[in-house]
């Protein structure tokens, strides 16, 4: 996978380049806006990592340019500016993701992979967590090779959680996605979740009480105390 890295800081650019190359990714690193535009034409990257603070022009203008001329290429913004306002500006300009410096390598890699997955669809995509697997195109769910028969709501619930493993999804978020409403008048979510758990077995979905649900890739042992 070809990645165009636009970053003016020497140490950071080089570090990111080496780290990504180590992961088997093909990285083209440029430090100026002009070079970036040239590389976009010449190399047709599949993903762009863009630093907003470039010396020869605002990264944001490059962002706009990218969105106008290279619509399909996903862009992750790397920036030192991390307020909500800055984030919204970046996302409004058409960035697909936003990473605030200093970031952790694992986070960067996760975002890169997620974006790659998103932009190339879920063909042949199977998500698997500890024996529980979900095949997105066919909506087939298996637990240890055994087929599960889920209702539409249960499947949606599971898919939402599986696509965002290790991230807690709030009750509100889930309710909106499943019932399309903001009112949580009933405990319908709890009922669906109860059914889902009974079918796939305990130990997959963890409850964060009052907050929401999460599927951990590595199970968390309950508190020793």
């Amino acid at each position: 996978m070809k990645i165009l890295l636009i970053e003016d800081d020497l140490d950071l650019g080089n570090g990111v380049r080496i780290a990504l190359v180590d992961q088997g990714l093909d990285v083209i690193w440029v430090r100026r806006k002009e070079d970036a535009l040239q590389q976009l034409d010449a190399c047709a990257p599949e993903l762009v990592l863009l630093d907003l603070g470039l010396p020869d022009g605002d990264g944001m203008s490059l962002m706009t340019c990218l969105r106008q001329q290279f619509k399909g290429i996903p862009v992750i913004i790397l920036t030192a500016r991390g307020t909500l306002h800055d984030r919204l500006c970046g996302l409004d300009a058409g960035a697909d993701d936003y990473l605030v410096k200093p970031f952790v390598l694992a986070e960067l890699l996760a975002r890169v992979r997620a974006l790659a997955r998103r932009s190339y669809g879920f063909e042949n995509e199977t998500i698997e967590v500890r024996g529980l697997s979900l095949h997105v195109p066919t909506r087939r769910v298996t637990v240890r090779e055994r087929n599960m028969d889920l209702t539409a709501s249960e499947y949606t619930l599971l898919e939402l959680l599986m696509l965002r493993t290790d991230r807690v999804l709030t009750r509100r978020f889930l309710e909106e996605r499943i019932f399309g409403t903001k009112d949580n008048l009933s405990n319908a979510l709890d009922v669906h979740m109860g059914n889902l758990r009974r079918k796939i077995g305990d130990g997959y979905v963890r409850t964060v009480r009052g907050v929401g649900y999460v599927i951990d890739t590595v199970p968390i042992q309950k508190g020793a105390g």
Binding site: P102, A224, G225
Partner: protein, 462 residues
């Protein structure tokens, strides 16, 4: 008693104004009085008037044939004059009547300076006689050759007689002053009210509040003072703002090198096989994380201290807390800490979403950080009558009562605490809470840890 004296001896403006008023009043009164007395002494009323003369002349002319009766009446008249003059029977300090006929004295008051004679009729003259100065005026009858002379002493000591007889000149002032004191004091107090209002407003200021003084008084003197204060406040505001922006910029600039350091070390980790080398790299990463966190906290601190320039809007507190807890769940999972959130209906408060986010994040991060592994962090929101209450409790070591005030100071760290931290977390919480007119209260939780309670005023009641 001592306080009373101290109070009395402390100069006050009210007293100063009153003293000045009274002093000026007395002075003016004295000048006025002196003028009147001086005028009076120069030409005494009794001498300048014509009625007294006319009466005596008529009396002499009509009673010319009865000298005995005439002299008796003149004697009585002289006494009446002396009584009216106020000098008593002593001719040296009182008025005297001398009646002449054909230049011969036919009557003179008891002890009158008979040698005093006017050179002109009808004019008040100063005459030296018997070693003294007199003031006299002689009037001649138009029908006969009778002459009437009234003589008063003109010495300086005469003033005292005047003061004695003209008591009504000075008396009003003596009577007035005590009666003037109270109205003067009261009116000054009332007039000083705008001044007191300004003093009150200034005294209510918190150190953080550098906004200009509101509703400036209309009075010119006060306006000048308030304007001067406002100019000063603006200057202080500007300099703190500059300082704030400088710190924020510096923190921003630190982010890129920190990111570079981190990514380089992380890339290096995959090349290193030896355990001790891995450990050293992990040390660098830990330090890097701490520095990154400090930079983030500094930025948050600077953002949360910024004057509120955005509009405050209703914020769904319950949803916001839920979202932040979901976002921070991985942090809790890392330390096997269970997050629990208790709430009923959505609670709305007015505020700035982003700052509230940093408040919630800091509270929960703190609770997670100080909880023992496998512990529990409880967050709950309750809607009270007039406020919404957000409580975060942990099972950590808590904060001893004597340190509870100080932990809100920037960079203050509990000396008993082994966990690393920026020392800014609670300072940020406090700053944001203050901007939302809310109180931060530290207590001991049910599990013996720390319970932080924040009370937001209700949207309806603000």
């Amino acid at each position: 008693m001592r306080n009373f004296w101290h109070h009395l001896r402390t100069p006050t403006l009210v007293r100063r104004i009153m003293f000045a008023q009274m002093l000026l009043l007395t002075l003016l009164w004295c000048v006025f009085l002196t003028y009147i007395l001086w005028e009076d002494l120069r030409s005494p009323n009794m001498l300048s008037g014509s009625k007294t003369y006319e009466t005596i002349i008529t009396l002499i002319d009509r009673m010319d044939d009865r000298p005995q009766d005439r002299n008796a009446v003149l004697e009585d008249f002289s006494k009446a004059l002396r009584e009216g003059y106020g000098g008593g029977e002593d001719p040296a300090i009182s008025i005297s009547l001398i009646v002449r006929k054909n230049k011969e004295i036919i009557y003179s008051s008891d002890g009158a300076p008979t040698s005093v004679t006017n050179t002109k009729y009808g004019e008040i003259q100063r005459i030296q006689s018997e070693g003294r100065t007199w003031v006299g005026r002689t009037q001649k009858s138009e029908e006969s050759d009778a002459e009437v002379t009234l003589v008063t002493p003109a010495g300086d000591w005469n003033l005292f007689i005047y003061l004695n007889s003209r008591g009504y000149y000075i008396l009003p002032l003596l009577v007035c002053i005590p009666f003037l004191l109270f109205p003067a004091w009261l009116s000054i107090r009332i007039a000083m009210r705008p001044w007191n209002k300004v003093v009150h407003e200034v005294s209510l200021r918190t150190p953080e509040d550098l906004s200009p003084l509101k509703d400036g008084p209309k009075h010119m003197e006060l306006r000048q003072m308030v304007d001067a204060i406002n100019v000063f406040l603006a200057r202080v505001r500007e300099s703190t703002e500059r300082e704030r922006i400088f710190i924020a910029d510096a923190a921003h600039e630190l982010r890129t090198p920190l990111a570079a350091m981190r990514i380089n070390v992380e890339a290096l980790q995959s090349y290193v096989s030896s355990d001790s080398q891995q450990e050293l790299l992990a040390g660098i990463i830990r330090s890097n994380s701490r520095a990154a966190r400090l930079v983030n906290q500094l930025l948050l601190m600077m953002h949360s201290e910024a004057p509120i320039d955005t509009v405050v809007v209703p914020v769904p507190l319950t949803t916001l807390v839920q979202e932040r807890m979901a976002a921070l769940a991985p942090l809790a999972a890392e330390r096997r800490i269970e997050l629990e959130f208790y709430s009923h209906d959505e609670v709305w408060i007015t505020g700035i979403r982003e700052r509230l986010m940093s408040l919630i994040d800091n509270l929960i991060e703190n609770a997670v950080k100080y909880s023992p592994e496998g512990g529990r962090v409880e967050v709950d929101i309750r809607a009270l009558d007039k406020s919404a209450q957000l409580r975060v409790s942990d099972a950590g070591p808590g904060i001893s009562a004597e340190l509870r005030e100080r932990v809100f100071d920037r960079f203050f760290r509990d000396p008993n605490q082994m966990q690393s931290g920026s020392g800014l977390g609670l300072a940020i919480v406090k700053a944001v809470a203050q901007q939302h007119n809310s109180n931060v209260c530290l207590n001991t939780s049910a599990e013996g840890g720390l319970m932080v309670t924040i009370e937001f005023p209700n949207q309806n009641s603000t």
